[in-house]
Amino acid sequence: MRKLLVVSITMIGLTVTLLGQSQAQGQDRVRSIPVGGSPLVPERLVNGPVPRLPDGKPDLTGPWVGGGSNADIERDGGLKPGELPLLPWAKELRDKRKEQDEPYVACLPMSVPRSNPYPWKFAMTYTSKGLTHIYLLHELGDAGAHRVVYMDGRKHPDDVFPTWWGHSIGRWEGDTLVIDTVGYNDKFWFDSRGTPHTEQLHTIERWTRLNYGTLVNEFTLDDPGTFSRPVQLKFTAKLLRPDLDDLMEDICNENNQAGIAGGYKLNSESK
């Protein structure tokens, strides 16, 4: 009897854990055909060694799934409800926003630190000068606008022009890739809940590949226009199942009928 009870509790625990992972991977409680999403690396391979590049740095290529916010940056980043120090205007705006109005649903870029359930990767660009650029490519969610991280030692410009992906400069700190970004526009949302920001946004990502299958993003969120203090968040990405193909084509605007069944127009807030 006691043994059966232990088995039951274990099953409940496993269920809750898997359900939590499932929720973290997706956006909402979508009731649709159970496809399973992007298949991840099998558990038996996760703890394997970190592959390295010819220059000795860890290979962060991926493709990865996750590693950012999606439904709710506060929850996805490891905070408790109410811990995100939003200024009153920002909280009011978040509470007022409706999910269907977010730019991402209208096929505009997710930006940082957003990641949807589709894979993405770091694409390292080596030239005669070494690693000069890293591109972040998303299968879906970048709307075709590549994100570039300058690895050539340049600084942020004084007159940075606000854009969806901002101006990113990167450097290695040991085995951790550090990406510092400013110059974001204020158009994207951090999550489908509607958490806003201003053009004062400054982010620092610290990407560390813990083992073969796991990549951690220690994320500093600083925007004095939106938050009363900088916030430290943590996201985890898992490797896409390695026997699968690389990123696939995903042209979001090909046949986007979102909203019609519910009787609303996309991205109405920005009009």
Binding site: V7, R31, E249, D250
Partner: protein, 137 residues
């Protein structure tokens, strides 16, 4: 009794896991979880398009009136990665399907299960398609 309850709760939890969360947008803004339908019809078109696949099905009611349902699925890349291909469901095929109606436009629904009438116990486009073992390793 307590043990049986525990197993039951765990079992229900695992059943809930069959509900995926892989979407470009949320469910509740467009579809009504209280309007579940279970119908039989003939496939007229399958769109392997982004950001979501769509299956169109003609359904005939008791009076003979035909309504074309437009049913949304997840993204085609997820389905392709599970080993499904366009040849697995072609127009003209008679199917049983379950789904949730649209909040405003009811025949624009979310597709929850689909199977050929000839093979009712073999749902299409769910995890582990017929070509799953032939994907390059």
């Amino acid at each position: 009794m307590r043990t049986k309850l525990g197993v039951l709760v765990a079992g229900l939890g695992l059943v809930c896991l069959a509900v995926p969360v892989v979407a470009h947008h949320g469910f509740d803004t467009e579809y009504d979880a209280k309007k579940k339908v279970s119908l039989t019809g003939v496939v007229t078109k399958v769109e392997w398009t982004n950001p979501h696949m769509r299956v169109y099905i003609d359904v005939k009611d008791a009076s003979g009136k035909v309504t074309n349902w437009n049913l949304e699925m997840t993204g085609p890349n997820h389905v392709r990665r599970q080993g499904w291909r366009p040849k697995d469901l072609l127009p003209g095929t008679e199917v049983n399907f379950e789904g949730y109606a649209g909040k405003v436009d009811e025949t624009r629904g979310s597709l929850a299960r689909i199977a050929k009438v000839a093979e009712p116990d073999r749902p299409l486009f769910s995890q582990g398609g017929p070509d799953a073992d032939t994907i390059p390793k």
